[in-house]
């Protein structure tokens, strides 16, 4: 049972009732969440029972060095979906893209929520935090992202780093990283942090994590990169519907050849599915329509740290990540070394030959 009830907010059940969402729809949502997180069958009812009575927790959403893709992913998902329920489950007290207020009013709502629900609110962060030159490369209301994060983290019950930028530094962190962009976990060390990586992350993963937190009052089991195991436990490749073609050695060689039209494996076109942990192949995107590989393009590996610096998106994992530079020089140097040693050997032989003194009969009779 959750231990972070927030006075001043109605329960989720009341909220759903107001919006005319039936119990049947709600139970379907809970079942889907339990299934997605690989929880036992009976858990769905338990989740429903807890959630319906749960007070909606205050959520403060801070957007730093980001492209708003994560917010877009969450809000533009096919409607009405399970994902839309997320806004009924939480009280989103600050999100500068979505809130109507602006300027001082907006900042005040953040400060109020932080004060009122100190120690109880959930902090959601998308975007990386620049720390070079005291973090001046990204500021909101005149304050650096670094400052805002440190302040907001103090009263947070837990932090959810949404998207690869907040989770791992993402694209702003790519070489040469001019702003010194880092992940939330590089700065905050004393709070539970859950990383929901992806560029953008899958909406239902965010919902699933929130449902888990509200039901059990704790974060789900995480992998060594702080990602929920139930969604990031397996690779795209392991769950890919094109996997049988990989095993058969049937590969598309270009994006419009016969292999591509037959839906063969995209490994040779640079698919990073084998090294990427995410749930795209099972949960899919756009209301379950498809995922990138299904649309004919290889996986970019966007949910892995440093995916932007891991070589071309279009070079296969068994191919060089960058062109070989030393080979030509090595041919010349190798041939030169071989010839030099050959000459040295011949000189040595010649010297031995000329130094050789023939024995005469007289020598032998000595």
């Amino acid at each position: 049972m959750m231990d972070h009830e927030t006075p001043g907010h109605e329960t989720l059940g009341e909220r759903l009732a107001q919006q005319g969402i039936s119990r049947r729809t709600f139970l379907k949502f809970c079942t889907a969440m339990a299934t997605l997180m690989a929880l036992p069958p009976g858990t769905a009812t338990a989740i429903a029972e807890v959630l319906i009575k749960a007070k909606r927790p205050s959520v403060i959403w801070l957007s730093f060095q980001e492209c708003t893709g994560c917010t877009e992913s969450l809000t533009r998902s096919h409607s009405p979906t399970l994902e839309s329920l997320i806004f009924d489950m939480i009280s989103l007290d600050y999100h500068h893209t979505l809130q109507a207020a602006s300027g001082y009013g907006a900042e005040k709502s953040r400060e109020d929520a932080m004060q009122k629900f100190f120690g109880k609110y959930l902090l959601v962060v998308d975007g990386s935090i620049p720390i070079k030159d005291n973090g001046i490369y990204s500021t909101i209301a005149g304050r650096t992202n670094l400052d805002l994060l440190q302040e907001a983290a103090k009263g947070a019950a837990a932090i959810i780093a949404v998207g690869s930028c907040a989770a791992f530094g993402g694209i702003p962190n790519a070489k040469p990283n001019p702003t010194g962009a880092v992940a939330v976990s590089d700065i905050i060390k004393d709070k539970p942090i859950i990383n929901i990586s992806g560029c953008p992350p899958i909406p239902v993963v965010i919902t699933g994590v929130l449902a888990h937190y509200l039901t059990f009052g704790e974060l789900p089991e995480l992998d060594d990169l702080g990602r929920p195991k139930s969604f990031y436990g397996e690779t795209i490749h392991d769950r890919c519907y094109r996997r049988p073609f990989y095993d058969q050695g049937k590969f598309a060689k270009s994006f419009d050849d016969e292999g591509a039209r037959n839906g063969w494996c995209l490994f040779e076109l640079g698919c990073k599915g084998p090294t990427t942990h995410n749930a795209c192949a099972t949960t899919k995107w756009n209301g379950g329509t498809s995922f990138p590989i299904e649309s004919g393009h290889g996986c970019l590996g966007c949910s892995e740290p440093h995916f932007w610096d891991a070589g071309s998106f279009y070079s296969a994992l068994s191919m060089p990540a960058s062109p070989l530079k030393l080979a030509t020089g090595a041919v010349v140097a190798g041939a030169a070394a071989g010839i030099a040693v050959s000459i040295a050997n011949r000189v040595k032989k010649g010297a031995a030959k000329s130094a050789h003194q023939k024995a005469t009969i007289a020598d032998l009779e000595k």
Partner: protein, 219 residues
């Protein structure tokens, strides 16, 4: 350095260094070996060499009378793991893709299940030849550190490759990176150890066969 950056390093800088040393070392050794030459043989050949050199290149692959019984494991396991290595290296689609990228040459590959099975058989036979080397007193006596090192340098790429594709021991990303690294170690040491036989084998056999014929022992 995380797993993906390590993998990227072995796929870029590491590979570049390894192939550079491999090419440099191989050319160096081959130039050196084949330019050594021999003193002109002034003796009248006892027998015209004919195709003796060519015959020897192949006859040396067949056990001489009686030898198969005495050292069956060496012959059978030796054949099996050499053929296995060739199948894995040259007929796995992912390897062909690398060869194509480096040389422009490509050919069809085999299904991965077939390669998996070949890898298991190859690993088993390589372990068998190692046990045989340690167990047989004469072989053990003749073995040097280089022999064991050459075995390990050959065994590791097959083992890590198999573990990577089967997701055993470590995550695929780590294991794939270790696999590529082990291949790079093999490439670096190949020219400077007895593993250079991949290039010198046929030349040496031809030379010996030809010389033997001139001395009166044609085949």
């Amino acid at each position: 350095m995380n797993d993906l950056l390590f993998l990227t390093w072995v796929r870029s800088t590491g590979l570049d260094i390894a192939i550079g040393i491999f090419v440099l070392g191989t050319l160096w050794r081959l130039f050196e070996i084949y330019s050594l030459g021999r003193k002109p043989d002034l003796a009248v050949p006892r027998h015209r060499a004919g195709a003796s050199g060519l015959h020897t290149m192949f006859r040396r692959s067949i056990p001489p009378p009686g030898m198969f019984k005495r050292s069956a494991i060496s012959y059978v396991a030796g054949y099996v793991f050499h053929i296995g290595l060739a199948v894995i290296v040259f007929l796995f689609a992912q390897h062909i893709k690398l060869i194509q990228e480096l040389t422009g040459l490509s050919w069809p590959g085999l299904p991965s299940q077939f390669i998996d099975a070949t890898a298991v058989v190859t690993l088993a036979t390589m372990l068998l030849v190692l046990v045989e080397r340690i167990n047989k007193p004469v072989k053990r006596f003749l073995s040097t550190f280089e022999d064991y090192a050459a075995w390990a340098l050959t065994f590791l790429p097959v083992m890590t490759g198999y573990l990577a594709t089967k997701h055993l021991l470590l995550s695929y990303t780590w294991m794939l990176a270790l696999h590529i690294l082990s291949v790079e170690l093999l490439l670096i040491f190949l020219p400077f150890t007895k593993l250079i036989h991949v290039f010198t084998l046929w030349g040496s056999r031809w030379y010996n066969g030809d010389a033997n014929a001139k001395k009166g022992v044609p085949v």
